[in-house]
Symmetry: C3
Amino acid sequence: MGRSLASPESVGALAARIGAEIRGDANSQIAAVASLTYATTGDLSFFSDKKFANVLATTNASAIIAPANVSLPTRCVHIVHANPHQAFATLLSQLFPETADFNGAALSIDTLAKIGLNNVVVHENASLGLGSYIGAGTVVHAGVRIGNNVRIGANCVIYPNVVLRDGVVMGDRCIIQPGAVIGSDGFGFQLTASGWMKVPQVGTVIIGDDVEIGANTSIDRGAIEDTVIGNGVKIDNLVQIAHNVRIGEHTAIAGCAGVAGSAIVGKRCMIGGAARIVGHIEIADDVIVSGGTLVADSIREKGRYTGVFPTASHRDWMRVAAGLRRSVRPPSNTNSDSKDAAAGTE
Amino acid sequence: MGRSLASPESVGALAARIGAEIRGDANSQIAAVASLTYATTGDLSFFSDKKFANVLATTNASAIIAPANVSLPTRCVHIVHANPHQAFATLLSQLFPETADFNGAALSIDTLAKIGLNNVVVHENASLGLGSYIGAGTVVHAGVRIGNNVRIGANCVIYPNVVLRDGVVMGDRCIIQPGAVIGSDGFGFQLTASGWMKVPQVGTVIIGDDVEIGANTSIDRGAIEDTVIGNGVKIDNLVQIAHNVRIGEHTAIAGCAGVAGSAIVGKRCMIGGAARIVGHIEIADDVIVSGGTLVADSIREKGRYTGVFPTASHRDWMRVAAGLRRSVRPPSNTNSDSKDAAAGTE
Amino acid sequence: MGRSLASPESVGALAARIGAEIRGDANSQIAAVASLTYATTGDLSFFSDKKFANVLATTNASAIIAPANVSLPTRCVHIVHANPHQAFATLLSQLFPETADFNGAALSIDTLAKIGLNNVVVHENASLGLGSYIGAGTVVHAGVRIGNNVRIGANCVIYPNVVLRDGVVMGDRCIIQPGAVIGSDGFGFQLTASGWMKVPQVGTVIIGDDVEIGANTSIDRGAIEDTVIGNGVKIDNLVQIAHNVRIGEHTAIAGCAGVAGSAIVGKRCMIGGAARIVGHIEIADDVIVSGGTLVADSIREKGRYTGVFPTASHRDWMRVAAGLRRSVRPPSNTNSDSKDAAAGTE
């Protein structure tokens, strides 16, 4: 599930790139990078967050970047580094240098025919990257930007000014409303002494069949593994799907909702408008999340979940809000009550 | 107010398309489709939600798709179907096959003159569909995509990369900030045994005079009737206006707000930033909704309304949230308290 | 910090444009417009909101539009007007007539070389306005629209369909994800008897070095002074940054967040996903705002702040919400309890 290297490299060579010592076989060959959970034999991974300590015991990674004091399974070569995520990010930027997303060539019907795309309608002012493929019956509207090595299935409609960055894969009969962006970089940064260091986002987005994606919605590419949108999923306008998210089949997500990084949403869920799902949690199949609700913990059982402060007249709200605040503050500190927690129109 | 058929058809012919039986006059002629509330003589509608039972008595529809056990007024022909919304969607997809939105032709000043558009500035890399019209003094910037049969008034400014899909109507002196999408499909799906079935969105968007629409805002076309934005309305960035919404004159809607399907917002309202208005409710004239508030029920009287959980230090918040949760749970279940309802930055 | 006039003008001439009387020296020369806080000698400003009364004593403005009953420092010429903001807006629309943002010319490598832009990659279907500059090593992808007098630093990547309106300034090594809009008009309107009057937005957006901006995010230009994004700031997808906002260095803002007009956010802050910061407040350095939190008042001390209603099963939520409502209502009015504060999927 991870991202393959252009050509395999030894653990020794990789460690040398970041000046790290090795415990184990320096000649072990690495063919891909992957996160601990998804790594298989031949993969390089890293360990930097205690949350994943239980994954260490079962990971199939062949090499792991980890601090010196961490005990790894004997089957894993240990690349010793005090800051594993930063070291991993450094390796990624060397192994996967930012290539030219998109080639920017405008497409004519002639060009399409030359590259073997028949029965495809591509309007003027659209762009198609190198190595990309569009299935029969698909319509690509004006202003659509398709990166390199993108694969679009048959009978899709890609409305104007949609952007699909490098490597995005889409099934058949998908409809992408105008302005949607698929495959933008995930929000992945590592804090260093000089500020945020960008962690290259080397995964992509895999979209199933019969998916509809709304206007100006954005779906980030995976950090290492891919972001996955299952068959039959329907996503409304202005929805944010962060990196590594997985949305189960036939789930519907209403407008202005957001799903944070690495969250997994089950099948046949209904996520209400402006609902928010925090990162790294799991939501079971057949869950209904009410509009405006922030889901902060995993939901293990199907059912309907809600968390919305009830609306009232502003005067009533001030009393309730002041009461809630008072309940947690020393009595001497009651003067900073709920003065105005309501934003105006600006 | 509904959408006219290309040519009138008898109830008998329409029923045959979906294999349905008829109670009443099979020769009754249908000229348009409409929802129960807005249907007039000659219109076909459907009844599938008890919420609208009271509308049945007064609807002017000439024919209604409804389950067998529903009693219709004698003036309505009854098309009998166990799943009226699905049957209606099936009919819509036959009656209004997805036509080629946009023709994708790039525009030169010459082309514009040929089609009678004078005193209009259209920058390069813009597209204009067949049968569309642009009023004198209007500027259409680069990358703007205008579908077929769009009508734009005089002295408007349409900033770069805006998309107006088929049939959108806009008054005079409107300003559309970059990246806004107007006329995208509403989020209309019918649940079937094999997943979500798309309900064709056959309405459009009608925008009055002196309207400003913000960057990357999206306004969906109506499902059957149109989405309507009144004169003088100002809408900020990243706002979602769902299908069938009606916004009254001179209402202002701040950034990141969302108005769900079929909601009706009055005149001269001020909707704060990130406020949410749920679907199928009505908000009176001169209502102020504070920023961040979710409005869940109709508001009948003018005034200011608020519903925002008060901010506190994280430590204080944990105490308040835990208290609220405890109040609804059996005492034995207090261990899963408010561990971390706060999303991090990822 | 304000916006300079094309050529200086006397207070007398400016007052004559709006039919206003003067108290003080009509020959005093005005070279720029600015807000009270930022005005320096030679600047014209206005006073219309008591909130800024304390700024009056210290402002360096040379002339101020203010109601007759306001006492100004003797160093300021008083332009007397009953509605100062409206008068100021009228002046702005005369002094800074809407010019042609963008010239819409498509760019070829030849054109770029002619205008002295070497070592720059601009893909087809991009547009570059007059007087704009792109630094060496920067890549401008297809469909990018760059207005007039824009300045982009070196080694930036501007992904497809990004829009930068007139006058935007960006440092080195910035990455702008697809569909982002920078420099759109702020949401500035003045209520008049005939509806909202647009206040021309004459500031721009200044972006530092090493900034990343997410897909479909929008950043408004300043109303008078500029919107400022500090060095090293990282902004995720679908974020709204309103006019006059200032974001301190190395602050990270996660997806779907919104910062309302004139808010000032400190350095090294972390603003969680879908968090909202209301206008005209200040947030100290090193503040963490949890996801989904609405920050309604200034935060003076570093630390973590949260305000999110805890999620529960819908049944439990109904009990908590009803309890909160009951606590502020007369006992006779308990029938309109928390019927359905949760938006469905539409």
